[in-house]
Amino acid sequence: MALSREQLAQRVAQELQDGYYVNLGIGIPTLVANYVPKGMEVMLQSENGLLGMGEFPTEAELDADLINAGKQTVTMATGASIFDSAESFAMIRGGHVDLTVLGAFEVDVNGNIASYMIPGKLIKGMGGAMDLVAGADNIIVTMTHASKHGVSKLLSNCTLPLTGKGCIKKVLTDLAFIEIKEGKFHLLERAPGVSVEEIAKLTEGELVIPDNVPEMQF
């Protein structure tokens, strides 16, 4: 079975470490915050200028001056700090964020990522994604392994305009957890009940399959 959005978030959350500063992109990455392991503390960075993002506000707490990078109203966690956009991206570009999780349309065997633009269709802009993929050393891309029509999104070469070049090392799809190194995809884990063959069939770029590919544990 392909992973649900919640399971994707849960699996990413297993990569967290106590004391991590984490930037979570819009969509599935945002859900990761719901699965931080008990007894562990992470601090969420929101690139519009907030370190220590808290839950959504109650009606009573609602504050138009306090939003996240997805423009949603949020609250501040204990020990939060506020800064301007230049400082926020100094933090990101300077490699101070421990883990960045974001979505993508395509990734390829050279660690390229396309996530912001479909020519002629979707041209809203890259927002902070280009800075995030260029600045972070530790990035997890979360995405579906293939389109609804079975077209692979794990490619030899990205076909869409790139968000970043050679910067992605880990991809979690609804089918598999994959590492990118030496110009190849390396299959690390498979979703529960998903066969190695199924993953191989839906992976266009070269895929290295070890003898033993464990199922993800939840």
């Binding site: 929101s46 690139e47 519009n48 200028g49 907030l50 839950e55 959504f56 506000p57 109650t58 009606e59 009573a60 609602l62 504050d63 138009a64 001056d65 306090l66 939003i67 996240n68 997805g70 423009k71 949603q72 109203t73 949020v74 501040m76 506020i82 800064f83 301007d84 956009s85 230049a86 926020s88 991206f89 100094a90 990101i92 570009r93 390229n112 633009m117 041209i123 809203k124 802009g125 890259m126 927002g127 902070g128 994604a129 280009m130 800075d131 260029a134 600045g135 305009p161 790139l162 968000t163 970043g164 070049k165 050679g166």
Partner: protein, 233 residues
């Protein structure tokens, strides 16, 4: 109060001197911390052919989006746009020129503009459409591109509090691009929720020193929320 009193008495006075084809740098992220009334004044004035530098372009009927129907914007330099239909129409038809710039690069370009740094290298955008036409260079085995600074004829800024000397304090994430915008305008105009007397703000806690501010006006703000997201108590 002599030469350092930056307070003006009307929005007309605040935006005096803005002319067609000028470049305007605007603070704000989405609809958060935008200089609502200064934008409305630009609409009222009907200034045309503007190059706007702002992270976003508002929505159809609020924020910078209100400058679209009368085609007041010639070009926008932004990181994320298209939250409104008229914007997309003008962009697709080529009536509106859009220069997409990564958010952090945009913030740094404004800062550099205000700080007398004509250009800087960044890894952001290397190998992407953003790098087209830009110098590429390696430092310590990593690839970077050269990004030029941005300055504006005007900067329009929203702060929370100010003293009459133009010392500014921002509130929560409404800070965003506002401090950099404030440094990068030949004429920097700031609207605030409250103006206090010099000496009332703690010198250690001023976000933007008054030296960057030319004009200051107190306004009232709608503060529209773009994505109203609440949790059950």
């Amino acid at each position: 109060m002599a030469g350092f009193d930056k307070v003006v008495s009307s929005y007309e006075e605040a935006m005096a001197g803005l002319e067609d084809n000028m470049t305007v740098i605007a603070g704000g992220f989405g609809l958060c911390g935008i200089p609502e009334n200064l934008i409305a004044e630009i609409k009222r004035k009907g200034t045309k052919g503007l190059t706007l530098v702002s992270n976003n372009c508002g929505v159809d009927d609020f924020g910078l989006g209100v400058l679209l129907p009368d085609r007041q914007i010639k070009k926008i330099i932004a990181s994320y746009v298209g939250e409104n239909a008229e914007f997309e129409r003008q962009m697709m038809s080529g009536e509106l020129e859009v220069e997409l710039t990564p958010q952090g690069t945009l913030a740094e370009k404004m800062r550099a503009g205000g700080a007398g740094i004509p250009a800087f290298y960044t890894a952001t955008g290397y190998g992407t459409p953003v790098a087209e036409g830009k110098e590429e260079r390696e430092f310590d085995g990593r690839h970077y591109i050269l990004e030029p600074a941005i300055t504006g004829d005007f900067a329009i800024v929203k702060a929370w509090k100010a003293d009459r000397y133009g010392n500014l304090v921002f509130r929560k994430t409404a800070r965003n691009f506002n401090p950099m915008a404030a440094t990068a305008g030949k004429i920097t105009v700031v609207e605030v929720e409250e103006i206090v007397e010099p000496g009332e703000l703690d010198p250690d806690q001023i976000h933007t020193p008054g030296i960057y501010v030319n004009r200051l006006i107190q306004g009232s703000f709608e503060k529209r929320i773009e994505q109203r997201t609440v949790r059950e108590k």
